[in-house]
Symmetry: C2
Subunit: 320 residues, 2 copies
């Protein structure tokens, strides 16, 4: 209760175990304490440095090397590690989960996560996979902040036989972290996120790689003149490499399908450029504005020009 | 002189003619007045609405429909229209340019611009092509602001026989608008910008188009879950369609070359995903962080997570 001295309500969960305390895990800790949702937070990490730092930051009252120790007595367990590690974690913690506990996760893919976790969940424990669609390009326990989920969507992908009461509780938990909650099937999630997140990251990583390996343009030139558009891509290409490796390895079909579409459309644009077909280019560029407007209307991005980043960039000039 | 009541220095140019007053033209007006660089600013636009608005905003003391009227008496003329219109503008204004005047432009391609403008410049008038690498996704006379060029690079691409004194003056003009100035050949400019600006815009337009034409994912879902990365691409895909059409039509070779590289690299990534080659993915994703760090060190982007845009986005939540 010391995490929540001002709230008169009892916390929703007496003990939250965060298996992993990177950007998302640490943000859950901040946001859960902001909302007074949990009595106590414990965590686990395979890295002694991360464990030490998480305790220093007050993300958890106690950090464990072994996730099976962290889940003891926890009524809410959230896996916040790269999804490639989930199968091993689930196998380790399975026998130590409390009866009635809710187990969830924050992975960016869902079918593979259900495949990897569900078999290790004992009878009487409620597993509901989840994915907060929120993040920054930073990672690690210092990167988290309480506002990360505010106004962002959290997608839950319960199996058909999921416990209704556990689902309702998990929904309320995410809403009180600041999110809106959407329910969908794991397969559909993976298809939607392939186009809204996975392929964008892949092509951002790819163009940064392409730019770094040119003979006729130096890296220094790429950096100097990046304000022409390239720098926008480098932000998401600075995201955690292991997390993203695991996303692509675990959402292969949907990513390859969306990538096929992307490449097909790109060839059409390439031909329009080659043959000087200005009408096709102009129409397509005009159409693209509609989706931007929709995103701003849905409060999923800032309406300010240039992401409102002027205050941060151009500092060189004002510091002269 | 009324534009610059506080400066004791005489303005660098007595009359600046802006041929086009969209985002860049209007920003030059604001920045030139901020620095007291010009005695008077006039402009031209084919749109009566734009002319009216530019006068209302004080971007120019007088706006003309005919660019040849705007350049009379101007010692600095800057073309700020879509580059596809340059040949016709240059032909129109050529006979009316003042002896000793400097003619420049702000187009995002340079070889085609030199090809289109240079033949129309009379003896005794100094043509030096230029490109401020700065912008936002917004367009039109209302989009400009004085700080747009602060800490951004402006590339000048003088021909070999360019007048040294005119080049020095134009360099100083851009420096006083807030830019750093770099000199390079038109061909090299077009190669550098193909990778740092043109191809990024093309793939941003392309993924927005791909996302808008899926059968299994709705536009509404794309918008809702865009915070996973996609929304970053929609910003530059909201840029002016005519300007960008003209860029691609006028930098065909360099764009097709860089696009070829991009597609080749993307196929490599696609194969790594198909065959589950996590090591290749992780290495490439790790390497991509280096360029981001370089961009931040070179003050070409904000170091704040998520472009510092939290204050603008997530407003939905805080407004509840």
């Amino acid at each position: 209760m010391s995490d929540n001295p001002t709230s008169a309500e009892a916390p929703m969960f007496k003990r939250l175990a965060l298996i992993g305390v990177g950007l998302i895990g640490s943000s859950i800790s901040h946001a859960a304490r902001r909302a007074g949702l949990v009595g106590e937070i414990v965590g686990s990490s395979p890295s002694s440095e991360t464990r030490k730092r998480a305790e220093e930051l007050g993300l958890a009252t106690k950090m464990y090397a072994d996730p099976s120790e962290a889940v003891r007595g926890a009524d809410l367990v959230i896996l916040c590690a790269p999804v490639g590690a989930y199968a091993a974690i689930a196998k380790t913690i399975g026998p130590h989960l409390e009866q009635g506990a809710i187990v969830s996760d924050v992975g960016s893919v869902k079918s593979a996560v259900v495949r990897d976790i569900a078999p290790h969940i004992p009878e009487g424990v409620h597993f509901i996979a989840g994915h907060p669609v929120a993040g920054t390009e930073q990672s690690g326990p210092d990167a988290g902040f309480a506002e990360l989920f505010d106004g962002r969507w959290c997608i839950l992908t319960p199996e058909a036989d999921a416990d209704e009461s556990a689902l309702a509780q998990l929904r309320t938990f995410w809403e009180r972290l600041g999110s809106d909650v959407e329910i969908m099937s794991p397969d559909h999630h993976d298809m939607v996120l392939a186009i809204t997140s996975h392929v964008p990251h892949l092509i951002a990583y790819n163009i940064v790689n392409t730019a770094a390996h040119l003979e006729r343009v130096t890296d220094k030139e790429v950096i100097k003149f990046s304000a022409g558009g390239f720098r926008d891509f480098t932000r998401i290409a600075a995201s955690d490499p292991v997390m993203w490796r695991d996303v692509f390895l675990n959402n292969k079909e949907a990513v390859l399908e969306m990538l096929g579409r992307f490449s097909e459309d790109l060839v059409t644009l390439q031909r329009a450029i080659r043959f000087g077909d200005g009408a096709t280019l102009e129409k397509l560029f005009t159409d693209a504005r509609t989706i931007r407007r929709g995103i701003i209307q849905a409060s999923q991005d800032t309406p300010q020009p240039d992401f409102g980043r002027r205050a941060g960039a151009g500092a060189k000039s004002s510091a002269r």
